[in-house]
Amino acid sequence: MVTLRNFVGSYFDSNRLTTNDYSWKPKDQLPQSAGEYPKEEGEQLSDTTTVTNYSRNFPMLLHDGGDDPMDTIRCVACQICERECPPQCIYIEKAYDENGKYIKSPAKFDIDVSVCMSCQICVEVCPFDAIVMNSQFELSTPDRFGGLLLRRDDLLKSNDYYHQIHPEEAAARDQKMADEKAAKEAKKKAAAEAAKKKAEEKAKAEAEAKALEEAGEKGKEEDSGKEEAS
């Protein structure tokens, strides 16, 4: 009886279906049905669709746009994520210019996605908002070692792409970064003002000290004059 009800009901009531309930989603975000995919060769479902706004698969590195993504890459190769990564799947090498000076960007940034467990700890510990979760899931490859080791250039994605896949999260992150920047600038300004004030005070103090010294010297001269007189 129950089975019959479920069978008949499955034609009318989406709640009786085993598939996901997407009724709460906007129409344009609905995943395409398997029969229509891929429409063209090389089309990636995950480029345009996210399963949910918070879905996460593997990390990616953010840059702020521009012709050469390395110019605006946010990562400074501080290696905090490498240390904190629970399955130890991140490998970073710092970049140096020809003089051997550390230029605050990664020369190598590899993530072994066959080891990565999508836990998002790297995103949380990153102080520069440089690493976030991608939702691309079509990464299957016939090469199980090289193909699953994502290099720096594979991981680099623009902030616009991030806005496309996780709009709310990206907006919140941008807001946070802007706030932090503003706070930093305010702090800098405050620090500069404080320094200026300090400098003024110092100058004032010096002037006073000088005046005092001069007065003292004068007094001394007078004293010596008195001595001479006596």
Binding site: M1, V2, T3, R5, N6, N15, R16, L17, T18, N20, D21, W24, V51, T52, N53, Y54, S55, R56, E84, C85, P86, M117, S118, C119, Q120, I121, E124, M133, E168
Partner: protein, 356 residues
Amino acid sequence: MGPHHPSTHGVFRMDVKLDGETVVDLKPVFGYLHRNHEKLAEDMSYLASMPFTDRLDYFNSMTNNWAYALAAEQLVEIEVPERAEYLRVIMAELTRLVNHVSLVGFFVNDLGALGTPLLYAFREREKILDLFEQASGARMMCNYFRFGGLRCDVPEGWLDRAREVTDRFPKFLDEYEQLLCENEIILSRTQGIGKLSRELAISAGITGPMLRASGVAYDLRKVDKYGIYDRFKFRVPYGEEGDCYDRFMVRMLEMRESIQILKQALADIPEGDIMGKAPRVFKPKPAEVYGRIEGPKGELGFYLIADGTPKPYRYRVRPPSLINLTVLRDMCLGQKIADAVVILGSIDIVLGEVDR
């Protein structure tokens, strides 16, 4: 029997000695899924172990997270904000629904009802997993709890969807009970099978629905009142006989109580922060703590020894699955070999937690 999936619970082997079809001796053999969880945790920071706790009992990542967070919060004494406490209760009770509903599905699968009841159960489970995915980004490996709160707030409209799922769930339960609870085959296959006496259950340290099915009304949500469980009104169902049918029914009834808790929590949840004042670097003073919760399978505890470094000196899990499994032999002796599978199914083990 084994080592394969004898009953959809993981890779597990039973050394069974038979006299005809009757079980004379039984030795559970496990360890095929050992991942060195405890030792690994001693070599990484406290936070980095959190995603690994998801993988203990992979049905209930939320409650695993909670038990670990509860233990670690004792180390540094973080105040958890009100909204986070409510969300924790909501997540834990949803997890209990997920666990029990899939357990019942697997259990009747072990009885030979292949497919249909399990798929109905999984259909409802999927709706709750959708909720988890919207909140945490992952269906099963949620990694959602943090020391002092939760990783992020739930998205807009999530609470309404949770209410919808909660309201719809009793209807499914009615139907499911109609399908299963008075089914003649289930009654004859489970009643009087695999009895666990009250005394043995207590002395073997059995916890959770298995203990309650043996007639001991012991629930950590009532005993410890961790989190904010003292604010909710709910009953603790318990059985009399301690046979497979009681264990099955206790779980069915517990789902009803979980829905009661969910309704109260979803009605009262306040606005506010979701993260308490956690220290930037988690470096507790030397101490020993034990945090435990009533997981869907029983008492899940984490025992931590801190030695003043950012890594735990000792990290120990008290897995309910493993300890509940220890009485398997006592329950199976004298039963038929086909019943041994049913008894194993009624214990509700997940080998990820047994082997760690």
